[in-house]
């Protein structure tokens, strides 16, 4: 038995680490102490964190004063000096004049970063502050006793497709006085918390981002200190999203394509669409001479204000993407993750200092989120993503006035978006094949481990073939799902942990749980 844990944070991304760092700061300021434990399923800090990313760094000034003096980290931080938006059509590109681009979508003052690296940086700062950080541990269940969250259960390890192995390790429970869930987009535990304590008025909806980091051995035609966003091609007008190119220092560029997961086509393959995007003459010209060095994919929770469920319950708070703190009007979430982590930390610190016995009262989280601007921004963008449910041409103008819409625009969950018989029937664009894409994510799982995704009713997949073209075989960027003519065959070890399958199977027939800790993708600079 180890020492009791005061605060357990599940998820070592920017939100969880911000909470941990802030908590240690607050405790030190009040000359108190408490054990702060962060768990993360990634093998190392940042390996499961992916974003563009264009980042508003002001929140770091407060969290990590003097962060700009860290020269090794700053090598990977580039201030944005040039910011363009383009509309792509067929083989052409049109620059959208700045005055037409909504204010929230300007990126002046931002920096481009790799979220994996930012997370690695925060992890080092957290450990220096006395936070206990444990990478490689997968939490699978939320422990609730008497309507109070008391900790989490880790998944068992050492199972094989043939049963227990000699090294089988049963479920391990970790209990704490307070649990902060920072488990990211479509987090398994924050989902359990919402199931238990209450979800939002709107269902949470997601986009899928596909990304590559490319290196230029020679000249870099895209240039440095630049961000570019594109609308249009290759996304059909009914599919929300767009593309981006962000420079990362002199020799690297991040390129990505974001697609709203409410798409209707059973055969839409986002990884193929990403290659189609890269093959557009305008984009291809900007990437000419580059070599792809890393790839990845991750979903983004976009439901906004009305999709937020319970974010504070007895014994637990939810922060970051796990809560759904993403502002689609600005296409940003990282700094909301950090700010919400800080707000949670302050709430917990106050609760700990006032606590009498085991129970810790968590009050004032929502108020702090208001003060830090997280909830006001979410509220302003409350109908933004929903404006696009009727497609780009209706959504673009509607989104400009969405904050004036007096009522809540509804939204269907993504899985209902897939329509029976709807097909895109596009030609293969060529480019990087799926297997190479997967290998460049570095994803790894033990081969004889039982698949961590489950097809709940295999018989349903048979009718799905005709109805939805077994859409999992197309939508999964990890190529986990294959149709062999009679059933779905799983390549579980390809999984990128992006969470698409958990929300996009049209029959809600896939259950995803985290595999053994330390597995999954290894994003070093995503």
């Amino acid at each position: 038995m180890t020492a009791p844990i005061d605060v357990l944070i599940v998820g070592g991304g920017p939100a969880g680490l911000a909470a941990a760092i802030r908590l240690k700061q607050q405790l030190a300021a009040s000359s108190g102490d408490a054990s702060v434990v962060v768990l993360d399923k990634a093998p190392r800090p940042g390996y499961h964190n992916l974003s563009g990313a264009s980042f508003e760094p002001a929140c770091l000034d407060e969290l990590v004063p003097g962060w700009r003096d860290d020269r090794r980290f700053m090598e990977h931080v580039s201030p944005v000096e040039r910011d363009d938006m383009y509309f792509l059509l067929g083989r052409r590109a049109f620059r959208i004049p700045d005055r037409v681009v909504p204010g929230g979508m300007h990126h002046g003052g931002d920096v481009t970063i790799s979220l994996s690296r930012l997370t690695g940086f925060l992890a080092a700062r957290a450990e220096a502050a006395g936070v206990e950080l444990y990478n490689g541990y997968s939490a699978r269940t939320l422990l609730v006793e008497d309507d109070r969250v008391v900790g989490v259960g880790l998944g068992e390890m050492g199972l094989s497709t043939h049963g227990d192995k000699s090294n089988h390790r049963p479920v391990e429970e970790i209990r704490a006085r307070v649990t902060i869930l920072a488990d990211g987009t479509r987090g398994v535990l924050s989902e359990q918390l919402r199931d238990r304590f209450g979800a939002g008025a709107n269902p949470q909806v997601y986009s899928l981002g596909i990304k590559a980091v490319v290196a230029f051995p020679g000249e870099n035609p895209f240039g440095t200190n630049r961000v570019m966003h594109t609308l249009g091609y290759p996304n059909p007008a009914s599919v929300f999203g767009g593309g981006f190119l962000y420079s990362m220092g002199e020799k690297l560029v991040a390129v990505g394509l974001i697609m709203g997961l409410d798409w209707k086509y059973g055969d839409l393959n986002p990884q193929r669409e990403f290659e189609r995007y890269r093959s557009h003459p305008f984009i291809a010209g900007l990437l000419k001479g580059s070599v792809t060095i890393a790839t990845g994919a991750r979903t983004i929770p976009e439901g906004g204000y009305h999709a937020l469920g319970k974010i504070v319950v007895p014994g637990a708070l939810v922060v970051g993407d796990g809560a759904g703190f993403v502002n689609m009007e600005k296409i940003k979430g990282i700094h909301y993750g950090i700010l919400s982590g800080m707000a949670a930390a302050e709430t917990v610190a106050e609760g700990l200092s006032a606590a009498d016995g085991d129970g810790v009262l968590l009050t004032g989280y929502a108020k702090r989120l208001e003060e830090r601007g997280v909830l006001p921004a979410m509220r302003h963008a409350r109908n933004y993503r929903q404006s696009f449910r009727w497609g780009l041409y209706a959504g673009a103008p509607l989104s400009l006035v969405q904050s004036k819409i007096p009522r809540r625009l509804g939204m269907e969950p993504d899985f209902k978006g897939t329509k029976r018989g709807a097909r895109l029937n596009r030609e293969d664009p060529g480019g990087m094949d799926g297997a190479t894409f997967v290998s460049l994510t570095g994803s790894l799982h033990r081969e004889d481990e039982p698949a961590h995704m489950t097809i709940l009713d295999p018989a349903a997949c048979v009718t799905c073939e005709a109805d939805y073209a077994n859409s999992c075989t197309a939508f999964c960027p990890g190529q986990v799902y294959r149709w062999d003519g009679s059933k779905i065959v799983l390549s579980a070890s390809n999984c990128l942990h992006c969470m698409t399958c958990a929300v996009k199977c049209p029959l809600e027939n896939i259950r995803w749980l985290p595999p053994e800790g330390g597995e999954g993708p290894r994003f070093k600079q995503m």
Partner: protein, 630 residues
């Protein structure tokens, strides 16, 4: 029983980021790889844990040598098995080769024995068979040599009651080995499932004390540690692709393909042929080494293992450059016809070390006989086949002779070296794959009386026997007694024909392109058998990950990043697309043949020969072609 577990922090060669490659130099930026606990050491941990549970005292001490950040792997160990940990760290250790590493660790083991075990000799030392970065398997036997103790290699299991018995893989099966005295060093091959870290134990391990020991604190002689104490030195690193450029030759006719493959196979490895190595001219300069070129003659049945004959052919060509003699060293209980066979293969002298105790392979006894002879006759080169026995024996002989040893060479040549004040003439340049086959390293011996290397079987060609060659047979008296025997072995299972896919000379692998398990079985086995018969080689059937997922075979046969890495002389990929995952596991193969119906399949980028077509039509033709030629 008390136990010392040797562990190592290594770069994770299973996950090499694209930008870790220095494309200009063709090498890897090692700093960009993650550091992990050497995967085979996880098996050693499991082994040690069982040992610990067997006795009442059961103290486990983890020992590693490395820079300060190597403490991470000790924490990892303590998270899985409770015990104590020692980090041997000192800037004087930097740049150590296997010999200098073994010396330093042996010094630390003596200190552990004295301080922590109260001078009790009742303990075992356990380590992984080899590390994934160096892959030499040399350090453990050299530690054993330094400590003067026995070594049990290829351990896969353990029985503790009533006596300690180690089950290990032997060349012809499985045997149970009983150590006759303690301590003994056991190197563990993949034997069992790794122990997981529990959260609770990890949390405890984080706060456990880790002792840091310096070179001086273990009484290490500074002339024997680090770069200074090393007997080998890396001379050049380069890309494997530089060694073997691949351009796929597409052939339509299966019979023609089989003919070309057979011709390439029988002409031996590129760079190893007569054209590549026999051009050295001394031009009257003084060579840095003088003396004979020796080859260890490993027995097989009544004859000699073919790798020994391959090496004699190679040694002959190297020695002729310098006008030196070739010697074969034959330990045995009865020589039989072997001396004549060795002379016919190129030996000028056969040194017969005959003694009843040399009938079976006991590493200590063999080492003593050979090392005594080497010390007396001072050859300039000594080569061993990198067979399981050779890999166990050579490190001990080299260490006992205070000579450098390079493991698993794929190329040997005579050349010069000049850098700073060092000028070496006519030395043996030893080239081997490193970092999981991702880079090639050329290594030279330094500060050693004899240049020693082990060489992979099949790299060189067995020379045609010349029965008219003359040679001398010298019987050397051998002084051994029962005290020189360290182990007692009892065979428990024999599998004369069972070959792991890693050991096969020919691997025939199938992928997702097969339609059914029946097809997989119908085509692969017969083609493998046909090729094996035609080329006189051991064969094994293997699979890609997709084929394993399709249920065509089991994970034991999977080639790739998450399966096994194979480096056969001939690799035939059928219906395999060539995902990077798979390529990683087979790119070290010498000759690659790809059969795929998709002309754009990536596998063709890594192949020497290709056929585009359906499995159902091409493979039966290929099988017929092998039968027609055999």
């Amino acid at each position: 029983m008390d136990c010392i577990v040797l562990v190592k922090q290594v770069p994770d060669v299973s996950n090499i980021p694209e930008d870790a490659w220095d494309r200009e130099k063709g090498t890897l930026r090692r700093a960009m790889l993650d550091n992990i606990l050497n995967p085979l050491d996880l098996h050693a941990l499991t082994f040690a844990d069982r040992l610990r549970r067997a006795g009442e005292t059961g103290r486990v001490v983890f020992l590693t040598m490395g820079p300060p950040q190597a403490r991470e792997v000790l924490v990892d160990c303590l998270s899985r098995v409770s015990g104590e940990a020692i980090l041997l760290t000192d800037k004087d250790f930097a740049g150590a080769d296997t010999g200098a590493t073994a010396y330093s660790l042996a010094c630390a083991i003596r200190r552990i024995e004295h301080e922590m075990f109260d001078d009790s000799r009742d303990y075992m030392i356990v380590s992984g068979m080899q590390s994934v970065d160096g892959d030499t398997a040399q350090v453990p036997p050299q530690i054993a040599e330094d400590l003067g103790i026995d070594h049990i290699a290829y351990a896969k299991g353990l029985q503790t009651e009533p006596d300690i018995v180690i089950r290990r893989i032997a060349s012809e099966g499985v045997e149970d080995v009983r150590p006759l005295r303690l301590p003994v060093l056991v190197t563990v091959t993949a034997c069992t499932d790794q122990l997981y870290r529990s959260f609770a134990q990890t949390r405890t391990a984080r706060t456990a004390p880790i002792h840091e020991w310096s070179a001086a604190s273990v009484g290490a002689d500074p002339t024997r540690t680090g770069l200074r104490g090393s007997w080998t030195q890396v001379y050049r690193l380069f890309s494997p692709s530089e060694d073997r450029p691949k351009t796929c030759e597409f052939i339509r006719n299966p019979s023609e393909l089989i003919g070309k493959v057979a011709a390439r196979y029988q002409s031996a490895a590129p760079g190893a042929g007569p054209e590549a190595d026999e051009t050295y001219e001394l031009d009257g300069r003084e060579p840095s080494y003088r003396g004979e070129f020796w080859v260890f003659a490993e027995r097989e049945g009544e004859g000699v293992r073919s790798v020994s004959l391959e090496l004699l052919g190679k040694a002959r060509r190297l020695a002729d450059n310098l006008g030196e003699q070739v010697g074969a060293v034959l330990p045995c209980d009865a020589a039989g016809d072997r001396p004549a066979q060795l002379i016919a293969a190129g030996a000028d002298v056969v040194y017969v070390l005959q003694h009843p105790m040399l009938g079976e392979f006991d590493p200590l006894a063999h080492k003593k006989a050979i090392a005594t002879l080497v010390a007396e006759k001072k050859p300039q080169v000594m080569l061993f086949g990198a067979s399981p026995l050779g890999r166990e024996l050579a490190p001990r002989v080299a260490y006992a002779c205070r000579s450098g040893l390079t493991a698993d060479c794929t190329r040997l040549e005579i050349g010069d070296f000049s850098k700073g004040t060092t000028n070496l003439t006519a030395i043996l340049k030893q080239t081997r794959p490193a970092l999981g086959g991702n880079v090639m390293a050329t290594i030279m011996t330094k500060d050693s009386p004899t240049q020693m290397a082990t060489v992979r079987p099949g790299v060189f060609k067995v020379p045609p026997p010349d029965p008219d060659r003359a040679g001398e047979v010298i019987h050397i008296p051998v002084d051994l007694d029962e005290g020189d025997r360290g182990l007692e072995a009892v065979p428990v299972e024999s599998f004369a024909t069972k070959v792991s896919i890693r050991d096969a000379e020919i691997v025939v692998a199938g992928g997702h392109g097969f339609r059914s398990r029946a097809d997989f079985d119908t085509y692969l086995g017969p083609l493998a058998a046909g090729l094996g018969g035609l080329l006189g080689a051991s064969t094994k059937v293997a699979a890609s990950r997709m084929a394993v997922e399709d249920g065509f075979t089991t994970h034991d046969y999977q080639v790739g990043q998450t399966g096994q890495t194979v480096q056969p002389r001939l690799y035939v990929a059928i219906g395999i697309s060539g995902a990077v995952q798979h390529i990683t596991g087979m790119q070290g193969s010498e000759i690659v043949v790809a059969i795929n119906k998709d002309p754009k399949a990536r596998i063709f980028n890594y192949a020497d020969f290709g056929i585009i077509g359906d499995i159902e039509t091409v493979v039966p033709d290929l099988i017929r072609a092998t039968e027609g030629r055999a």
